[in-house]
Amino acid sequence: MTHELHDITLVVNGRSHPIRVEARRTLADAIREECGLTGTHLGCEHGVCGACTVLLDDQPVRACLMFAVQADGRAIRTVEGLAHGDTLSPLQKAFIEQHALQCGYCTPGFLMLGTAILEQNPDIGDEELIEILSSNLCRCTGYANILRAVRAAAAAMREEGVA
């Protein structure tokens, strides 16, 4: 059972990672193992829980359902790219202030999903927000504080004129 290796480049948070992987290697495993960015977590490996959510060309995707070779050369963003140096993003800050995480395992996925929401639709209504956030699973918080955090970050971004 031999598997051909492919030379690809994953561009994660603006940095290029030339890597050599089997075609079957998932994007999530390549980000974690080949690129060493373990902030992207695997919760189910079947595309339901969303813990592995990353942004691919600014769109949230399940990194467990993509192969690394499919992401060759495309712009990938992960949780490690959200803060600027020591400055957390408004959503990261809001997650801390609103107690939107407990164990923290689903948090990177929610942060990436929430980041996409705030970038694409900062004035999103409650109903749509709940519907989109329902694409990821959290087992600790009961979700209400995650919703609050996204709203608080949207408000903070409006105030700062970021949005």
Binding site: G43, L82, L88, R139, G142
Partner: protein, 782 residues
């Protein structure tokens, strides 16, 4: 270690918030977690590591005829394949809790020997250079099983487990009073047959075990540990024939525990044994399907319960026979869930006579153990269904019926002639009736009844229900904390506790800050490591804040007393006029001079300080908090539901959890515990269930089949934290807050669904699935 005996162990904190305790401060844990810099099990890697993959049974019950690993071993990159013969010298996984004689033969071997007893049981272990390759090789292991009939109903007569052993290892019996006499004189007897489905904690992070052997120091390390490091360390050492001091466990971040994570499982021992034998670090990360099949299940019970009551609805006796579906083996909890169910069933009510028989039965399903509010989620459902049924039978308002039976404040502490987890049940404090009033008021019960009537008149199927519960927390006997101030003034707190993600570091730091007089945010909390503290009882049973929190309080008091004692002569003042604020010893009266920092005091107490000659150096103290009795938090859940007549779907519109926990160290974290606990209770009430086909094949093996609640399913949740009944059993008056959010959800939603349907007693089974609701709706249709 103890430089002074000055610290008054029994100094209680005054009611109300302090400088750090009682404040909703942000968590110490969060900064690395929001940056993707956590260290979960899968994030642990060592040079030269190999990967383990477990080959699992695909039949529920059968004789294991052969395991052929020839093809797997021949695959390039495969280091080894083990079957039961390779681990024959490793004993079965023992149990630590609720030890009942006769359970030993039912414990699980590390790899199946001559029989398999559930789908998912480990049969072989493959070790390979790469995780993908290990899976390839596992597929090549040929397993021959001769099928046997599967036992799937714990309430059916016991069958054969093995020659000479049947599937009922024990019956847990408890009781008091003259039950038969009570039934003979009863005004009415109410009988119910109630079932709770098979659920589990299902943390978002699956289990993981990364073992390595450091030959230079002759140390075996296990990373990815959680919950019970010290007990697991001792047992791993014993089972592998090593002294405990040569084995260390390390807890990093843990992606949720909920009872199931951090128990000692076969995979932990396989990884450790392989690291020793193969001389390579071994990494095992469970996948989600394995998590559904191999990690502990919980909950599933069927109760046949009877109550004897007088004409006013007062309980005279309860007689309960229940069947606990333990699954295929006895695991580390022994008969704990049965013991908890039997001991906690009476809840908040005065009960003159009680008899319970808990049949601990094995079936061909994934083995079971504890899951958040174990034995209480089940028995609160049963008991509160019973109270509603009594109310219906006697035509008494269900709230009034409960009031008549609640233990009164004047009766506290209220001893029940019962034991649970080996300790006598003494309800330590409480004002049950007051909290019931507060909850009804907060939920707007009266106005709600009116609005329900109006909505029904316009055709809606809506209803409200409530349930009362008593939790238990603070399981002893002991836990220790060592607090040290170093020569820079940095405070380190080393605890025998663990954290499964609930915020232990923050809570212990807040307590330490309050007692010592420092800021909480700079305190370094160490937990979950066997190499930093000799003993520890870990994180379970809502015990950490009570036990380790109390030890923290005492250790910090002791350090404070040492600091004042050392500073006083140097400042030429008496210790009594001194206090510590922001890490500076200063006068209580607010004068800023003279003063001395904790850093300066720590330097004065260093090992090279002449003043310390003949004494143990260091500004440090270790204290152990001991407790003979648990503390009993309590609360009320209220639910408003609306049923879709077209689909049978139950929507929870509003929900209240009122919970008295004595003192909230961090109200924000307590609310978080309650909200998250509620979500899990909601899952068990309406969505989650491990289902099996008639041959014992599991049908719930993905997140598309085992439905945990999403943001869409969450109602508007209100949380009322009460502090009216501080526990007299510890210096902060704390009761645990981890399980009250879960405890009564099934019970309250069942009552609300009954009310919406207008069919008292209609709900007899959890989860309440749409198909059942449709049948009940059809039954009611004219």
């Amino acid at each position: 270690m103890d430089g002074t005996t000055h610290g008054p162990d029994d100094a209680r904190m005054a009611a109300g918030p302090g400088e750090a305790v009682g404040r909703a401060v942000t968590r110490l844990e969060d900064p690395p977690l929001v940056r993707g810099r956590g260290l979960f099990a899968a994030d642990v890697n060592f040079p030269r590591q190999i990967h383990m993959r477990v080959v699992r049974a695909e039949l529920a019950h059968g004789l294991l005829r052969s395991v052929d690993a020839t093809a797997a071993r021949a695959l390039p990159g495969v280091v080894a394949v083990w079957t039961s013969a390779d681990v024959a010298e490793i004993p079965s996984i023992p149990f630590r809790a609720t030890k009942v004689q006769g359970l030993e033969p039912y414990c699980q071997p590390v790899l199946a020997r001559d029989r398999v007893r559930y789908v998912g049981e480990p049969i072989a272990a493959v070790f390979a250079e790469d995780a993908y390759l290990a899976e390839d090789a596992a597929d090549l292991v040929a397993v021959d099983i001769e099928p046997l009939p599967a036992v799937l109903d714990a309430a059916a007569p016991p069958a054969e487990f093995a020659p000479g052993l049947h599937t009922e290892p024990t019956i847990v019996r408890k009781g008091f009073g003259d039950v038969d006499a009570a039934f003979a004189m009863a005004h009415a007897v109410i009988e119910l047959d109630l079932s709770v489905g098979r659920h589990s904690g299902v943390p978002l992070e699956t289990r993981g075990a990364i073992a390595r052997y450091d030959a230079a120091r002759d140390l075996l390390e296990l990373h990815g540990a959680a919950k019970k490091q010290h007990w697991n360390r001792d047992e791993i050492a014993r089972l592998l024939g090593r002294p405990p001091s040569s084995v260390h466990l390390f807890e990093g971040h843990v992606g949720g525990g909920f009872g199931v994570r951090g128990e000692l499982y076969p995979e932990d021992l396989l990884a450790c044994a392989a690291a020793l034998r193969l001389d390579r670090p071994v990494k095992w990360i469970e996948d989600r399907r394995e998590n559904f099949l191999a990690t502990n299940h919980s909950r599933q019970q069927r109760h046949r319960i009877r109550a004897a009551v007088d004409a006013e609805g007062r309980l005279l006796a309860i007689d309960d026979v229940f069947f606990h579906d333990q699954g295929a083996y006895v695991r580390t909890h022994g008969a704990r869930v049965v013991d908890l169910a039997a001991g906690m069933l009476p809840g908040p009510y005065r009960l003159p006579a009680y008899r319970v028989a808990g049949h601990f039965r094995l079936t061909n399903k994934t083995p079971a153990a504890t899951y958040r509010a174990p034995g209480r989620y089940e028995t609160t459902f049963v008991r509160e269904r019973l109270m509603d049924a009594i109310a219906t039978r006697l035509a008494i308002d269900p709230i009034e019926l409960r009031r008549r039976n609640l233990v009164a404040t004047a009766e506290m502490p209220y001893p029940r002639p019962l034991d649970v987890l080996g300790s006598d049940v003494v309800l330590d404090s409480g004002d049950y009736a007051k909290l019931l009033d507060q909850a009804l008021d907060r939920f707007g019960w009266k106005a709600l009844r009116e609005s329900i009537a109006a909505r029904r008149a316009s055709g809606e199927c809506v209803g409200a229900g409530l349930a009362f519960f008593v939790e238990k927390s603070g399981l002893g006997p002991s836990d220790g904390v060592r607090i040290t101030v170093d020569h820079t003034g940095t405070v380190e707190l080393v605890s025998g506790a663990a954290s499964v993600g609930q915020g232990v570091d923050t809570v212990l730091a807040q307590i330490c800050a309050e007692a010592l007089g420092v800021g909480y945010s700079g305190i370094r909390v160490v937990r979950g490591r066997t190499d930093r503290i000799e003993f520890g009882n870990g994180a379970h049973a809502s015990r950490v804040t009570v036990m380790s929190g109390s030890a923290t309080w005492q250790a910090a008091q002791a350090v404070r007393a040492m600091a004042l004692e050392t500073a006083a002569p140097l400042l030429q003042l008496s210790p009594e006029v001194l206090t510590i604020r922001d890490g500076i010893v200063q006068r209580k009266d607010g004068a800023t001079e003279p003063s001395m920092t904790l850093a300066e005091i720590a330097r004065q107490m260093g090992p090279n300080s002449p003043a310390m000659r003949g004494r143990t150096p260091g500004l440090t103290a270790e204290k152990w908090f001991w407790s003979d009795h648990m503390t009993y938090p309590y609360g009320v859940h209220c639910a408003l539901v609306c049923i879709d007549r077209g689909t049978g779907a139950v929507k929870v519109e509003r929900y209240l959890v009122a919970n008295d926990i004595g003192r909230a160290i961090n109200p924000m974290l307590v609310e978080g515990q309650i909200a998250g606990g509620f979500a899990q209770g909601l899952g068990g009430a309406l969505y989650e269930e491990f289902r099996y086909d008639e041959t014992g094949q599991p049908l719930s093996t993905t997140f598309a089949d085992y439905l945990i609640p999403t943001a869409t399913e969450m109602p508007a949740l209100d949380v009322l934290i009460a502090e009216d009944a501080p526990s007299p059993l510890n210096p902060l008056g704390i009761k645990g807050a981890g399980e009250g959010g879960t405890n009564a959800v099934g019970a309250a939603i069942a009552a609300a669904v009954d009310d919406a349907l207008g069919q008292p007693g209609a709900v007899t089974t959890l989860p309440i699935l749409p198909g059942t609701v449709m049948r009940l709706l059809d039954r009611a249709a004219p």
